[in-house]
């Protein structure tokens, strides 16, 4: 895993976007996620899944940026989900409050279903 974060975007449908990260979610990594997320939101997509399968490390600045993204999504009536987190990152998100307003899933499919409103 690199310390430079790469983000790829997948669109399972018009309302949902999946952002797959590979690397360190720090200041630069968080900014890259935010750039992609805000571009999607600007295009009317406010249901986002962050698939962190290839991210093993996150710092507090990266988390604060994720919180900013989450706040903006909630303000616009959107949803944010995470999937495939390492146990350490999942625990970190729980502690830092991200899991309070975003949902965490073990795999992408149930996360996308929740974002679509198909499940509670």
């Amino acid at each position: 895993m690199s310390e430079i974060l790469k983000v790829t975007v997948e669109r399972p449908d018009a309302a949902v976007a999946v952002l797959r990260t590979d690397g360190y979610i720090n200041n630069a990594g968080g900014e890259e996620i935010a750039r992609q997320a805000y571009a999607l939101m600007g295009g009317g997509v406010n249901r986002l899944l962050l698939d962190l399968e290839k991210t093993k490390i996150v710092n507090s600045i990266g988390i604060s940026i994720l919180i900013e993204i989450l706040e903006k999504l909630l303000d616009s009536g959107g949803r944010l989900a995470f999937c495939r987190l390492t146990p350490t990152i999942e625990k970190t998100f729980q502690i830092m409050g991200l899991a309070q307003y975003a949902r965490i899933f073990p795999a992408p499919d149930p996360a996308v279903a929740w974002l679509r409103g198909e499940t509670d």
Binding site: N26, N27, K56, N59, S60, S64, I95, M96
Partner: protein
């Protein structure tokens, strides 16, 4: 042209601000103050970092804004006015003007400085608008502080949880390599470092012997750092001179914590470039140093645990081997000596470890003679016991081929051991054959302690007739013969008897042994054997012995 003051409209604007969600409350505050004053143009700045500003109807040049920022960076939240002349620069070229500075404060803290292009038309009404605006900004400031404090509190919980988790991992696993990953990643995460390196010497324990190197991002150092490790944490901020091996480390700022286990510096945790939200790099603080040292301590504990576990596993394996070897050896050493014609035999062996290097045996021969021997294998423990079993097997097999030629027999045993013992362990051997018809003992003493023959109340020593077997390819052993008439006693023993030491580091010695066996002529051999062991125990009085003890007594009858 200036609009008229709209006090109610200004309050309504302020009331519409959502402190929690509004992205730029300063712009709304400025708009409300413009409405409440009747001014057309203005500027509002928040002097607390990070600097924020809102402008309306103004387009000052970059130099004027830069001057404003420099002033605010210095003055911070204590600023209550702008530097002289700045209004002119900000409002130019719209001159003449009659600018007013309105500080919005709460509890002696300036929340915003507002510059309007004219005095308020309704000073009393404007004062109420300014007070309302200040209260809105105070709520926002407090909300920001609460949010920040909440984040910092959660961050501390995260910090403690990470240390706790690493501690739990240490207790739950002995996979140091995986733990090293956890420790490196947790350190980087919590310190907001951009890259990090962990290097640790693992010789004497942990994973494989050698050096374990873990990098995240560009390597900050290589294993060579292990030769010059400090025993305390170090911070290198702002170009401070680094230790030699870190001179070219690809980082602006570095933090180092040594990994010290059992008083030895085994390795190092290195962090590079603590990032901030603005995209810059902050100095590593004493608090960061403390955190990294805690992770260094965790790594040290994990290394120590792994080493202790490895030692425990090795010890357990050795004990199992020794127990197995001991059980094998028990079947090799005679538990009861055979009844043979013309001789009464007694003896025993007392190993200093569970398995030892001494051997004795008695072999009744088909022609009525009796062969007996005492041997001592160099070394101790399992390897010595294995060689003992080889000597035993060798003697058993070769005895079937006959012992008419005693030196030839010993030479065959010697050649066999030469081929077997790759480590060149040697064996001293006293091998004797008693002929009851001739009342004679023929023997070969291959480097062993001299046998003691007690005959007619006199003790005679039967010295070596050649070197130990199993080590020198070309060696010759001489045979000797002595009479062994009824009542005569031949005592064979290992050096564990004569070299047994007491608390004063004195040896039991030949003289004591000879006196003992001379005095035991009237005793049955079993009693004499027990008395020898008892005398040695009495002499050593519990002092740990390092050599096996063996006695074999043959008395003609």
């Amino acid at each position: 042209m200036h609009p008229g003051a709209d006090i109610l409209g200004a309050h309504a604007r302020l009331a519409a601000i959502d402190p929690a969600a509004d992205e730029n409350p300063l712009a709304h505050v400025l708009a409300a103050l413009l409405a409440g004053s009747g001014a057309a143009r203005g500027l509002a700045v928040d002097p607390s970092p990070p600097l924020r500003r809102a402008l309306h109807g103004l387009s000052p040049d970059a130099a004027a804004l830069a001057r404003l920022d420099r002033f605010l960076e210095q003055a911070g939240s204590s600023a209550t006015s702008f530097p002289a002349g700045l209004e002119g620069e900000l409002f130019a070229p719209e001159v003449p003007f009659d600018a007013r500075v309105v500080p919005l404060t709460a509890r002696d803290e300036t929340l915003a400085l507002v510059l309007l292009d004219r005095p308020p038309q309704d000073p009393v009404g404007f004062a109420s608008v300014a007070a309302h605006a200040a209260s809105i900004l105070a709520v926002i400031r407090m909300s920001q502080r609460v949010s920040k404090a909440d984040f910092e509190l959660k961050y501390r919980v995260w910090e403690l949880q990470s240390l706790y988790d690493v501690g739990l991992s240490i207790a739950g696993t002995l996979d140091f390599e995986s733990l090293a990953d956890d420790i490196l990643m947790s350190s980087i995460s919590l310190l907001n470092a951009r890259t990090g390196t962990l290097i640790v010497r693992t010789s004497g324990g942990a994973v494989e012997d050698g050096v374990l190197v873990k990098h995240f991002g560009a390597p900050l150092a290589g294993p060579e750092i292990l030769s010059s490790l400090p025993d305390h944490p170090c911070r290198w901020n702002d170009g401070a001179e680094r230790m030699g091996v870190l001179t070219n480390a690809p980082a602006e700022k570095l933090l180092l914590a040594p990994i010290v286990a059992d008083g030895r510096t085994l390795g190092v945790l290195l962090m590079a470039d603590k990032e901030n939200r603005a995209g810059g790099i902050d100095d590593f603080s004493p608090g960061d140093e403390r955190i990294l040292s805690l992770f260094g301590n965790q790594a040290a504990i994990a290394l120590e645990n792994a080493r202790l576990h490895r030692e425990a596993v090795e010890k357990e394996r050795m004990e199992r081997e020794i127990e197995l070897a001991a059980s094998i050896q028990k079947t090799i050493l005679p538990t009861a000596l055979p009844v043979v014609g013309g001789l009464r035999l007694a003896g025993g062996n007392r190993p200093t470890r569970q398995v030892g290097g001494d051997y004795f045996d008695v072999f009744p021969l088909p022609d009525g003679r009796t062969a007996f021997c005492v041997a001592d294998v160099a070394g101790k423990g399992v390897p010595a016991a294995l060689l003992v079993s080889t000597v035993h097997a060798c003697l058993r097999i070769l005895l079937d081929t006959g012992v008419a030629d005693l030196p030839g027999f010993v030479a065959r045993v010697h050649r066999h051991l030469l081929g077997f013992s790759s480590t060149r362990k040697f064996v001293t051997l006293f091998f004797a054959v008693f002929d009851p018809l001739r009342q004679e003992v023929r023997y070969v003493n291959a480097g062993h302690n001299p046998g003691i023959l007690i005959a007619g109340g006199e003790a005679n020593l039967l010295p070596a007739g050649g070197p130990p077997i199993g080590i020198l390819p070309d060696c010759v052993h001489r045979e000797a013969a002595v009479p062994l008439r009824p009542g005569d006693t031949l005592v064979l023993y290992s050096d564990g008897i004569t070299e047994a030491v007491n608390g004063a580091d004195e040896e039991f010695g030949m003289e004591r042994l000879i006196a003992l066996v001379k005095g035991g002529q009237g005793e049955p051999p079993e009693t004499l054997s027990s008395r020898v062991f008892g005398a040695v125990s009495e002499f050593t009085r519990g002092v740990a012995q390092y050599d096996d003890q063996t006695v074999l007594i043959a008395r003609a009858c």
